[in-house]
């Protein structure tokens, strides 16, 4: 068959280009080689570094336990590739299968994998964002700069109490630095885990000496005459004196370079099918452009086929492996990416893990342990079934709840468990903020309509 012949040729001497040389890009490259791809492989990354790991940046690096340049991702195998680091992809010509680079070069491909991830949402006022002492935290350079500046800092202001912001606050407290956290929502982590768990997170922060101010916004940052951050103004009219501020307002997907390419890419990411094949703007699936990692959003059977984008480490790895496999496989051998979302964080001495999509939950039941002890398992329900679970220092139970999610088990769970407390006898509203209001940092974004909605809304690019 002609199609098979092409595939054979592709596997043997085709050209595969990966844009985004970080976690997803690296794991995809390894998988391609492991599965027998012998053609040319090019990895394009705008950062000058070999792939490195981001989770330690807000944890061990800020604590000074390791330095930012020691976070290189371990390579699982030696493989042959053409690395083009320190140069950004600036455009995509789908018709002629070319990627344009910032240095004017163009790279041709037979198959393309896009793994450009996300970048930290910057402070919206440019002049204020440029003040000395104002940081975001996404890259190795960000982490190195921030870690240097924390030495001798007088007070650190963290703007936004999502996972990253909370981890930064935790690291600062562990270093003994005074920290103020300002969060627009009623508690930390509410975008990701809801208000019930958020309250427990708030207590945790306060017990560790964080000056936590919720229900407030930072309205402006002010510098001194030398352009150094001096203080921040809050929406309640108060001021916080701080010489370091970390803007932790969530992330924006790296898709700007794909504008006008004809690919279905936008601020919410690049839509793809369950096999990681990207959609074009007409909603037609491509067969030579694949996506993986934080930048991708794909429909998930367990969650009503809504499109999910996950900013989760494990998802990036799993999706990259599936994408790589599918890129060089016949359609009958392709596999769907049906990863159950799973996320971990560690802050204030507590290990937080979640599976499923908590933000889809309407209600939560504290199935084991107690919120007040900061050691519990919360189970989220959606329309009578288990949709997610979160644990604070109770990781070992998570596997059970993952199976409950996978089998659409009924919610609330009709059975008793060990360590069920009186507060776990009845579910309560999970208390997520109105989804139409943007939150700083949900680590899962639901960005589609459920098929039962049957609605189409036309949203012009410029209103």
């Amino acid at each position: 068959m002609a199609g098979d012949g092409y595939l054979e040729w592709m596997r043997r001497e085709g050209r595969i280009v990966i844009v985004g040389a970080s976690l997803a890009g690296l794991r995809a490259a390894e998988t391609l080689r492991k599965e027998g791809f012998t053609g040319s492989l090019t990895l394009i990354g705008d950062e000058p570094y070999e792939p490195y790991d981001r989770p330690p940046l807000s944890k061990q690096v800020l604590l000074g336990q390791t330095s930012a340049d020691r976070t290189a991702l371990p390579q699982r195998m030696e493989f042959d590739a053409h690395w083009r680091l320190g140069v950004a992809a600036t455009g995509l010509d789908m018709a002629n299968r070319r990627v344009r680079l910032a240095d004017g070069d163009e790279v041709e491909y037979d198959r393309l994998l896009i793994a450009t991830g996300v970048h930290a949402r910057p402070w919206p006022h440019e002049a204020e964002a440029d003040l000395d002492g104002v940081f975001v935290l996404r890259t190795r350079d960000d982490a190195a700069g921030l870690q240097r500046r924390l030495v001798g800092a007088r007070r650190v202001l963290v703007i936004g109490a999502g996972f990253t912001g909370s981890e930064i606050a935790s690291a600062c407290r562990e270093r003994g630095l005074p920290v103020t956290v300002v969060e627009r929502a009623a508690a930390p982590l509410v975008g990701a885990l809801g208000g019930v768990v958020g309250q427990a997170a708030a207590e945790l922060q306060r017990e560790h000496g964080v000056d936590l101010r919720c229900g407030l916004m930072v309205t402006g940052l002010e510098g001194d005459s030398a352009g150094r951050l001096r203080c921040a103004h809050l929406s309640d009219g108060t001021t916080v004196e701080a010489d370091v501020a970390v803007v932790s307002l969530g992330a924006t997907r790296n898709t700007a370079w794909l504008a006008d390419s004809g690919l279905g890419a936008g601020p919410r990411g690049i839509a793809c099918d369950a096999g990681c094949r990207a959609f074009d703007v007409r909603g037609i699936v491509t067969d030579d452009v694949f996506v993986a990692g934080d930048v991708a959003r794909s429909p998930h059977a367990l969650f009503g086929y809504q499109f999910l984008s996950l900013e989760h480490w494990g998802n990036a790895v799993a999706q990259a492996e599936i994408a790589a496999h599918n890129m060089i496989s016949a359609s009958s051998d392709r596999r769907p990416h049906l990863w159950v979302p799973a996320f971990w964080s560690s802050q204030f001495g507590v290990s937080i893990k979640s599976v499923g999509v908590p933000s889809l939950g309407e209600e939560i039941l504290i199935a084991q342990g107690a919120l007040a002890e900061h050691r519990f398992t919360g189970v989220y329900g959606y329309q009578g079934r288990v949709i997610a679970a979160v644990t604070f220092d109770q990781t070992k139970w998570l596997e059970f709840y993952q199976r409950q999610i996978e089998t659409a088990a009924p919610f609330p769970p009709p059975f008793p468990t060990v360590d069920r407390r009186p507060e776990g006898l009845r579910p309560v509203p999970a208390d997520f903020p109105d989804p139409s209001l943007p939150t700083h940092a949900p680590s899962v974004t639901l960005s589609g309509y459920s098929p039962t909605d049957r609605r189409i809304t036309f949203t012009p690019v410029r209103a």
């Binding site: 084991q368 059975f415 468990t417 060990v418």
Partner: protein, 413 residues
């Protein structure tokens, strides 16, 4: 083979040397029910794994329904005045006691304790092997596998050297009581064990008092004096925890080392490799924990609700047995499971359990076995089995040879 006899056969000492064909039979009925005792036996890897993480499963015997008597004839008779150890408790009590015990033992508070014992462990091992003298034949169990872990526990708990011998005697007596010899008079045996328990308890209580006044950096001092976020252990809790560390940390390691040497002698090519590449010890011990786990099954769990496992409903309060050793040989999970293969990839065995009750002493047990087997392989010249299979202990749960008579041409320095 009729199903009703399967459990009986597994418990029957005649099948102790090779229970694996029976486990294979058992796996054909993933949830096997023994009518008389209301015991449900689970033998497949994935089902066991799931149940080890299932919060509807309790380790607290108080949740057993009165009907579920348990099929183990002379189940360990730890009847004593001590409160139950965390092995037999559910959260939150389990978590609290285990956390407090972990503080002086492992990460995050004491990450290097086990690692730092490496030199001492090697020394104990060398001394024991030196003691073989110019004999060319030994019983590995009596001359090596038994004394080694007890000595280690003495050092860990901070038992003074001059008391180690007494401690060994009590430990041996208690251990023997866990492995009843049917030819002995049970009343007499129970009395002897009870006396040993009492003597050991009195001794430990005295030692704890001393440590309270003048703490050292041993575990007993830490358990007796530390005020962590969970508060302090009561005297009784310290005692029962110390007894748990002694029994659990010792019974199992004996079998791990003995089973290990037996397996190596049956696989001379692997023994030869270990001699040449000592770093093989790490994956080798993992494979051993899969292939011949010292704890064959967990017989003391029960259900808090009716739960469905592989199409069978296990009723609330049933006695639940999880046959770890069978899960470890489940062909649905492990390729060629009856082959001993230290190069096995993805070896997520159940040998140390999983979930909240996973083996507390695992890091120490692993290190003890690695050092012991590497040293035996290195120093014994041409070792060979004198009896295969060797005589086994009575116990079906803590399974291992009672004696392992081996010969060799000499001991290298």
């Amino acid at each position: 083979m009729t199903q009703a006899t399967l459990l009986g056969q597994i418990l029957d000492h005649a099948n102790r040397a090779d229970p694996y064909p029976l486990y294979a039979e058992l796996r054909k009925t993933p949830v096997y029910r023994e009518e008389d005792t209301n015991t449900y036996v689970v033998s497949n890897y994935w089902e066991i794994k799931g149940l080890l993480h299932d919060p509807r499963i309790s380790s607290d015997a108080r949740n057993l329904s009165p009907r579920a008597a348990g099929a183990l004839p002379d189940q360990e008779e730890e009847e004593s005045a001590l409160p139950p150890t965390f092995l037999k408790l559910d959260p939150p009590e389990h978590d609290r006691l285990r956390r407090m015990t972990m503080r002086p033992f492992g990460p995050p508070e004491t990450p290097r304790r086990v690692h730092n014992m490496r030199g001492e462990l090697s020394k104990i091992v060398s001394d024991l092997i030196d003691d073989f003298g110019d004999r060319e034949q030994i019983d590995l169990v009596d001359n090596f596998s038994y004394p080694f872990p007890v000595t280690v526990i003495c050092r860990l708990l901070g038992i003074p050297r001059e008391d180690e011998a007494r401690f060994h005697t009590w430990a041996d007596t208690i251990a023997a009581s866990l492995d009843p010899d049917p030819s002995e008079d049970p009343t007499e045996r129970r009395r002897i064990a009870q006396t040993a328990r009492t003597d050991l308890g009195v001794y430990l209580a005295g030692l704890i008092d001393e440590r309270r006044k003048a703490p050292g950096d041993d575990m007993l001092s830490a358990l007796a004096t530390e005020h962590g976020p969970d508060g302090q252990m009561s005297q009784m809790e310290v005692l029962s925890t110390a007894a748990l560390l002694l029994i659990a940390g010792h019974e199992t390691t004996v079998n791990l080392i003995t089973n290990g040497m037996l397996t190596l002698l049956r696989n001379p090519d692997v023994l030869k490799r270990l001699r040449a590449e000592p770093q093989l010890a790490v994956p080798l011990v993992e494979e051993l924990l899969r292939f011949e786990p010292p704890v064959q099954l967990l017989p003391q769990r029960t259900t808090l609700a009716d739960i469905e496992v592989a199409g069978t409903t296990i009723p609330k309060g049933a006695s639940l047995w999880l046959v770890l050793a069978s899960g470890n040989r489940d062909p649905q999970r492990f390729l060629d499971p009856d082959r001993f293969d230290p190069d096995r990839k993805d070896n997520q065995h159940l040998g140390l359990g999983s979930g909240i009750h996973n083996c507390f002493g695992a890091p120490l047990a692993r290190l003890e076995a690695q050092i012991a087997l590497t040293e035996l392989a290195r120093r014994l010249d041409n070792p060979r089995l004198l009896e295969d299979p060797p005589p086994y202990r009575q116990n079906a749960v803590l399974r291992g040879p009672r004696h392992l008579n081996i010969a060799f041409d000499g001991c290298r320095p």
